[in-house]
Amino acid sequence: MRLHEDPAAFEAFYRRHVDAVMRFVVRRVSDPHLAADLTADIFLAVLDSADTYVPGRGSEIAWLYGVARNVVSAQYRKAAREARAAGRVAGRRLMDDDDLARMEERIDAERRMRSALEAMEGLPEGERAVLELVAIDQLTVTEAAAALGIRQVTARVRLHRARRALESVASPSAVYLEGQT
């Protein structure tokens, strides 16, 4: 995959996934400007790390969500923010009022998922990461394992543990299970 060198290949990839990426982002942040920045940052990170994608080793979306997770993580945000201040492609500057309204609609539509994610905050990081990708982002366990760079069997174990931990928390678990179908 020569995404980072071939604008046409990149465009095809972008069009296939931009919607999923924006949904991924607004499940995690509720500020429309930040959501635009992160969307841009994720695709910049795709360019940065296009070489790490090995076609056969997992689905495209799994790889992309792995990149997206890193970008949305707090640590990366910090670095990206500094880069943006120095003039990197800044998503928010590409938004006009219509875009802002549409982004707010997207954010609104994912409200339930955001509260489900919040409810998962108490889980250990490794378990939460798997449950997040499977229940919230609708990846298969195989894809989630690929996105996280862990073995499938590990992912299964963690998912099982996470679900069991959540069963003991009475109410919100219905939301994640619903997200499964």
Partner: protein, 223 residues
């Protein structure tokens, strides 16, 4: 048809063209590399990307009511933060005003672990005021207070009452060179009536105290 997605796509395609032209100085940046390296490479990319961005940034900006940054005729930059909700936007806005800044908003009772970097910067004290009645905070950076190579570092421990409430604590400093990423740590709260701090209702829940050895006191300013 032109919308965010289309504009982003063309900005990114410009980025690809620019990068390729620059002999792929940024070819491999696996996302999972260490933070330090990422920062370095991002900075390198930033220089390259500037040209591409200039082309792409055209459309109407949307202003955020969370903060206001104004540049005075004397070159001073005034900042008023009404709501502690969009640190990225504030940083971008400050960058536009010529002030490199790192802003972190943390939950009540948390602050960034000190030190964030080498103290330093220009001369003079910040004129800072912690507003009341949900008015947020305001401060002015006089010209030269954050010189080139230095960064204004703001860490706010938000009120649990909400983003637009007066903060629990703020820390404002100028760091020379690299700023360490914010590592959240618990803010030790002096028990009521303990020596050295005064509680003033007017100032909301914030406490003012001096800084010793860069300890996490509640409201600190270091010029």
């Amino acid at each position: 048809m032109s919308n965010f997605e289309d504009r982003l796509l063309s900005a990114l395609k410009d980025e690809i063209t620019t990068r390729t032209a620059e002999d792929r100085m940024t070819t491999v940046t696996p996302v999972r590399r260490s933070r330090r390296r990422l920062v370095g490479l991002s900075a390198a990319v930033a220089g390259v990307a500037a040209a591409a961005t200039a082309v792409a940034v055209l459309t109407g900006l949307t202003s955020s009511p969370a903060y206001a940054v104004t540049t005075g005729s004397d070159g001073g930059v005034s900042v008023r933060i009404h709501s502690f909700s969009d640190p990225d936007g504030l940083e971008a806005e400050l960058a536009d005003a010529g002030v490199r800044a790192v802003v972190d908003y943390l939950p009540e009772g948390q602050t960034c672990k000190q030190p964030r970097g080498e103290r330093g910067g220009g001369q003079g004290q910040f004129a800072t005021s912690i507003g009341k009645d949900g008015d947020g905070i305001a401060f002015t950076i006089e010209k030269g207070q954050v010189p080139a190579g230095s960064t204004l570092v703001l860490a706010v421990s938000k009120s649990k009452e909400g983003d637009d409430q007066p903060p629990f604590a703020t820390a404002l400093e100028v760091v020379k060179g690299t700023v360490a990423p914010c590592e959240a740590t618990t803010l030790p709260v002096p028990p009521p009536g303990s020596g050295g701090t005064t509680e003033r209702k007017d100032d909301g829940p914030g406490l003012d105290s001096g800084t010793e050895e860069q300890g996490p006191s509640l409201n600190t300013q270091n010029g």
